[in-house]
Symmetry: C2
Subunit: 195 residues, 2 copies
DNA sequence: AGGCCGCCTTAACCTGGGTTAAGCCCAGGT
DNA sequence: ACCTGGGCTTAACCCAGGTTAAGGCGGCCT
């Protein structure tokens, strides 16, 4: 087994025989990415995804008017890919970009088809992955409905302490749905209040 | 088969043998709800869900400070239930309320366990349901990130034309994440511009 | 009919975040 | 050591939306 740590991450989601994981490893390909390099670019077919071995990535949606907003940050052990577009068989409208030099274990979505027909554990995993993605988005929805930008910021750091120092402030702003100017204001407001 | 129309709705999500659907029907119980009646109330165990036969429902989250925000509207053929809490085995933090007199086909989540072990189509359906819920929330996230309240309103009516005249304006506001006062302003602004 | 209630509107005022633009700080490159 | 550029901060001004409060308009009940 070449990636025991990832195997642990995965089995925490759904039980998976080691033998099946070994099969998956043979389908995967390790990929190194420089800082700022794109794992996926908008327009690409959304037929591949990766598991982060090393580094932090951001999923960016570039809107029609050219503004970018950030859908998620992903670090070690997490999935990267244009999940929504993959489910719908559409080309990616999302860029996945490395914020630091990183390494990814990359899969071709089609290759997993064969695993899935071979053993039911993969369907189970796919379900868990969908459910987990849902829960994350649900939480985010609630934050937008009930919280101010300042409260969202506070909660962001509570929930993503491991990102501290690894993501630029402007990206945090784009994740919260505000501008970097507004975020800077909020931060200095909090600094003053803390004295 | 007592509910052929629901069967169609469901098979559009994932193929399902009619024989399996018949088994499910025996587990279900029809329930009538008056206007304003709650299918689920906060604090209830989130172990039941329903399929809407008739009526429009709203899923309401009541925050700690007593403000209510609306997570979704659900009409004929759609699922109602505290899906997130069910996945996590938590009590419901959501109320599901009838906006009109309605009828629901209600299931006990545990009862489906037996169906699931009997035929793989149910696991497949569960996966599709999770994926669909995810896609809905993803779309909503994007709207909060990229659109103004006015644009969100416009898109709301594009995507939910069947709700026209069936949901009070204050609830639309709570769905969009603004107050009813702000929504009223937006509507009258648009009215003026349209002349 | 009269009165009440639920829902929507309007207005006045306040605040948080957007926009634009200038400046600062620091790391990297030459 | 100097420049450069990227990322952050600050300030001034504007506008969307929140808050509070006062009606308005049906529909429904007795």
């Amino acid at each position: 087994m070449r990636y025991p740590k990832l195997f642990e991450h995965i089995t925490a989601l759904a039980p998976l025989p080691a033998s099946e994981w070994l099969k998956a490893e043979t389908l995967a390909r390790e990929q190194a990415l420089d800082k700022r390099a794109l794992f996926l670019r908008p327009g690409d077919a959304a037929d591949r995804f990766g598991l982060v071995l090393q580094g932090v990535f951001r999923a960016v949606r570039v809107s029609a008017r050219g503004e970018e907003s950030i859908k998620a940050f992903r670090a070690e052990g997490e999935f990267i890919g244009a999940y929504a577009e993959m489910l719908q068989g559409q080309p990616s409208m999302t860029a996945i970009e490395a914020l630091e030099p990183g390494r990814v274990l990359a899969f071709q979505a089609n290759d997993l088809q064969s695993l899935e027909t071979g053993h039911p554990c993969w369907a189970q995993l796919a379900r868990r992955v969908a459910e987990r993605h849902y829960l994350l988005k649900e939480r985010r929805e609630q934050e937008f409905l009930d919280l101010s930008a300042e409260e969202r910021l506070e909660r962001f750091w509570q929930e993503h302490p491991h990102l501290h120092g690894r993501v630029p402030q402007r990206d945090v702003a784009a994740y919260l749905g505000i501008t970097e100017v507004a975020l800077s204001r909020i931060v200095s407001r909090r600094r003053k209040r803390a004295e």
